[in-house]
Amino acid sequence: MKISRRNIVVLGVSAFSASLLPFNLLAQSDGQSAEDIIKEFTGGANIGSGDIMLTTPEIAENGNTVPISVESKKATAIKILALGNPGPDVVTFKFGPLSATRSASTRIRLRKTQDVLAIAKLEDGSFIQDIKKVKVTIGGCGG
């Protein structure tokens, strides 16, 4: 194939966009601020308080595995955010028709002492939240 000037331009453009691609992906997973994540989840709606219970340990000796559980009886989805982590978005629990109590427990990583936030989306479309401070003795994000 003869390499014309146009070919070179096309090659250059595709190489450039290919090199951008991984950075775009990274920006999506790590670059989102907590506000952006909350806005995406709630659509900018006001967040009230109410029947939501987030249970965390007061002091977590090991930030690599911090047990948490959350319950909100009328929730269709609950989002957990760790506000002091490099990626604050931790997990989104979505409850289907066969879910009994709208509760879930898991173990999360916390880099440092910080607030853990749970936002529940209720059946009527409103949002409520609960926030707990967790003291972390040994951080859990490596590095």
Partner: protein, 109 residues
């Protein structure tokens, strides 16, 4: 497929109709955050399980979206109601495209 991935599930064998039953799941997985560096200072790419679902006879029970903030060997506990005898289907979705599936039967009296 990531190495050493093994799902474990605890579901009662029997239940009465409409009763809330507790389900516990754990899958062994290293859940690489993408933030750590190897000995040469290069970033180790993220490799996590990003989604977990549980269905019963085709109806959804829970659907969890996970990010790197979930600990090594992701553990979940939740509750389900079962209207009839049938089968739970548990599915984990790995970043590398692998899908891990496991089923558990339950008898409803």
């Amino acid at each position: 497929m990531a190495k050493g991935v093994k799902p474990r599930i605890k579901v009662p064998k029997q239940a009465s109709a409409g009763e809330a039953i507790t389900i516990k799941t754990l899958i062994s997985h290293k859940m690489e955050t993408g933030l750590r560096k190897d000995a040469d200072g290069n970033k180790i790419p993220q490799s996590i399980i990003n989604r977990f679902t549980c269905d019963f006879n085709g109806s959804n029970v829970v659907d969890f979206d996970m990010k790197a903030g979930i600990s090594v060997n992701p553990y979940f506990q939740f509750e389900a109601v079962v209207p009839e005898s049938g089968e739970f289907k548990f599915t984990w979705y790995d970043d590398d495209g692998s899908v891990y599936e496991k089923t558990k039967k339950i008898t409803v009296s």
